[in-house]
Amino acid sequence: MTDSVLYSVLLLVSLGVIAAIVLYIVSKKFYVYENPLIADVDELLPGANCAGCGSPGCKSFADKLVNTEDISELFCPVGGNDVMKMVAELLGKEVAEKDPTVAVLRCQGGCDVRPKTTEYQGPRTCAISAMVYGGETDCQYGCLGDGDCVKVCKFDAMYMDKTTGLPVIITDNCTSCGACVEECPRDIIEMRPRNKRDLKVFVGCLNEDKGGIAKKSCSVACIGCSKCEDICPKDAIVMVNNLAYIDPVLCTLCRKCVDVCPTHSIIETNFPPKKVKKVVEKKVEVKVAVVKEQIVTESKKSKTDA
């Protein structure tokens, strides 16, 4: 009885010792040196593995950062300047500071403004319907509405709006990894600088058709009238193929173009509501003031009554 216990214990112990020796030898023999810096840099990176930097994942990007001399061209869009600064400190290299960007949807052709003229019966992915034809509406430049961009977003920064049929970008979640830009067969998603308070002015249309045709297919299409180009004080707007494009670097966000656009195809985001023009204001003011006074007095009365 004691023998069998002793034997089995001895057997297991000797097996363990042999395995330990083999493992030790193997680990010495096949040791691969890895720069410990790579692990440190990997620690700093966001770990989203989104491939927005061009490398397949954060680990390989860390490897690249450590092993390249000049890392000024490399950038992690998710971590942004903060992470890149920390990486630079750790590695003792220099990084270029980049303005943070955010994805914007350059199409406003929702169901209400861009009527459907045909019906697509094939598989519901933008990639295939773009291959088959110009889409269910008459605009062959705009959003196809099958949500390939939403499927590819790893940060829950996009969803499909059921009423308009267009994707919506949640700017706070967007890390500007660029996956949606890559995926969209129509190239309607653009990376634009994330200005202060996320203020943006951009043309929400990519229709290159002549004005009449564009307007017929979508009521908020850019008709190429060049009014915005004429009014822009900084020459930030260029017209190419009947389509306006606002250069994000030159644009000072003065919003003159927004007012002048006859089809409202220039989008402004996150600006405070505009003040009503003074002339109109004066006329209204009197009435408002009177009404306000009444309300104020009334409310005072009611207060005192109470």
């Binding site: 003229t117 045909t118 019966q121 094939g122 598989p123 990639a127 295939i128 291959m131 088959v132 034809y133 110009g134 062959q140 058709d209």
Partner: protein, 442 residues
């Protein structure tokens, strides 16, 4: 037992409603929109400008490269604009818009072309004439004919196969052409025999066109080297590789051409166009189009000028019936749904199919039940279910190794799938990506 290809194939309902309707000449359209990319390869280059007056058969766009083709004006009239118009690809493409001159008699007079038997041109001149007249394969692929006929010296070439199969359901354009122009087609065959120094020709016709088979047997009675082969009715027998296998028993290599096994295949429509080009110097400006559909008042076959908007054709057969859901450019199997009725007829339009509501729905796609039907019917011996999954998951390299590029897009797999899976949609998509990846590699 009749000849056919061994692997796969299906037999959809034939529905050849218009096979007894003679080819009528369509009224000359008021406006024609001639696309400059009607053939496979490089689009032609426009050589006319706005307000130019053009004559019938005048070159309006010149061949843009080696694999390209001339385009001629189908009517006499004035070029009103060079515009972007949606064609059967579903996208706006460059078109030359010509307004027909209502006063010019050449538009309306019917040219009588009696049979011309003797071939005067030399082989080189024949090939040059085919190039000049902008002849392309009229079976549907629209491959420029001169490129196909440009056989390098030293290539072994012993057979010419004439494709009169017309395996697509509904379509009868080739069938009618064979019945009405059999003698001309035989002369056309002789022209090609002379140009290519060929001795042996087989005309392949499916057995559902017995009248055409008998007629050809009569017409070629005296000729040497031309035979007629009656084939079992099976889709997609009209595919080049299937036809060569069916008639000669030769297997065309995976990514090869029939020329690799010493064969050239031409459609009967192309042969007739070649006949007209050589004997009458008439460029390719019109073709036979079947306008058909179960609910149409008066479906028929027409001689249609290239560039005629499809709405004119619809008007000719009595307008769109109520409950129309889909318009297809081509046959029901390989044709493409078109976006609106302004789409012009091109050199590759063999038919316009009007599909009613009850036939148009695709059915909801369900899970694959592993029945293997798609593998069984694939004429190329592929595994469509696997190719679909691979391209859906983005494994393009593996799809390429599984020979996705040999798919002929016949749609047999999607036709038989009991789960209505969009097999061909995804395979086509995968092919597109693989092609792009391959070109970027080279």
């Amino acid at each position: 037992m009749l000849k056919t290809f061994p692997k796969g194939g299906i037999h959809p309902p034939e529905n050849k409603i218009t096979s007894s309707k003679g080819i009528k000449r369509m009224t000359v359209p008021k406006v024609v929109n001639v696309p400059i990319a009607q053939h496979i390869g490089i689009p032609a280059e426009i050589v006319v400008d706005r307000k130019d007056k053009v004559e019938i058969g005048q070159v309006i766009a010149k061949s843009g490269g080696f694999v390209s083709s001339n385009i001629h004006s189908p009517v006499a009239g004035t070029v009103t604009k060079l515009d972007l118009i949606i064609d059967s690809s579903g996208y706006k493409k460059q078109c030359i818009v010509i307004r027909t001159d209502a006063k010019n008699p050449s538009n309306f007079e019917e040219v009588k072309e009696p049979l011309k038997m003797d071939i005067k041109l030399e082989p080189k001149e024949i090939l040059q004439r085919i190039t000049d007249c902008g002849i392309v394969g009229l079976g549907g692929a629209t491959f420029p004919s001169q490129v196909k006929l440009n056989v390098r010296e030293g290539t072994v070439l012993d057979y010419l196969i004439i494709n009169g199969v017309e395996c697509e359901p509904y379509l009868t354009a080739d069938h009618r052409l064979m019945l009405e122009k059999a003698e001309e087609i035989v002369v056309g065959i002789k022209i090609l025999m002379k140009a290519l120094h060929l001795k042996k020709v087989v005309i392949g016709i499916e057995n559902n066109k017995k009248d055409a088979i008998n007629l050809f047997k009569k017409v070629i009675n005296k000729e040497d080297g031309i035979q007629v082969a009656a084939l079992q009715v099976k889709y997609p027998q009209g595919g080049e590789k299937q036809l060569v296998r069916a008639i000669l028993g030769r297997e065309v290599p995976k990514n090869g051409l029939p020329l690799d096994v010493g064969v050239i295949v031409h459609n009967v429509g192309t042969i007739f166009a070649i006949y007209q080009a050589i004997q009458y110097n008439k460029p390719l400006i019109e073709r036979v189009v079947t306008v058909t559909g179960k609910k149409l008042d008066n479906p028929s076959n027409f001689w249609v000028k290239i560039g005629t908007p499809i709405k004119d054709l619809i008007a000719e057969v009595g307008g769109l019936p109520e409950g129309t859901r889909k318009l297809v450019n081509g046959g029901p199997m390989m044709g493409k749904a078109i976006k609106n009725t302004d789409v012009p007829v091109t050199k590759g339009t063999s038919g316009i199919l009007v599909i009613a509501e009850e036939e148009a729905s695709r059915g909801e796609a369900k899970n694959c039940i592993r029945c293997g039907e798609c593998v069984y019917v694939c004429p190329m011996g592929l595994e469509p279910h696997l190719l679909m999954n691979l391209s859906e998951k983005g494994l393009y390299e593996r799809a390429s190794n599984e020979d996705i590029m040999t798919c002929i897009e016949c749609g047999s797999c999607s036709y038989v799938c009991p789960s209505h899976r969009p097999l061909l949609d995804y395979i086509r998509f995968g092919k597109n990506i693989v092609k792009k990846l391959e070109t970027s590699k080279n």
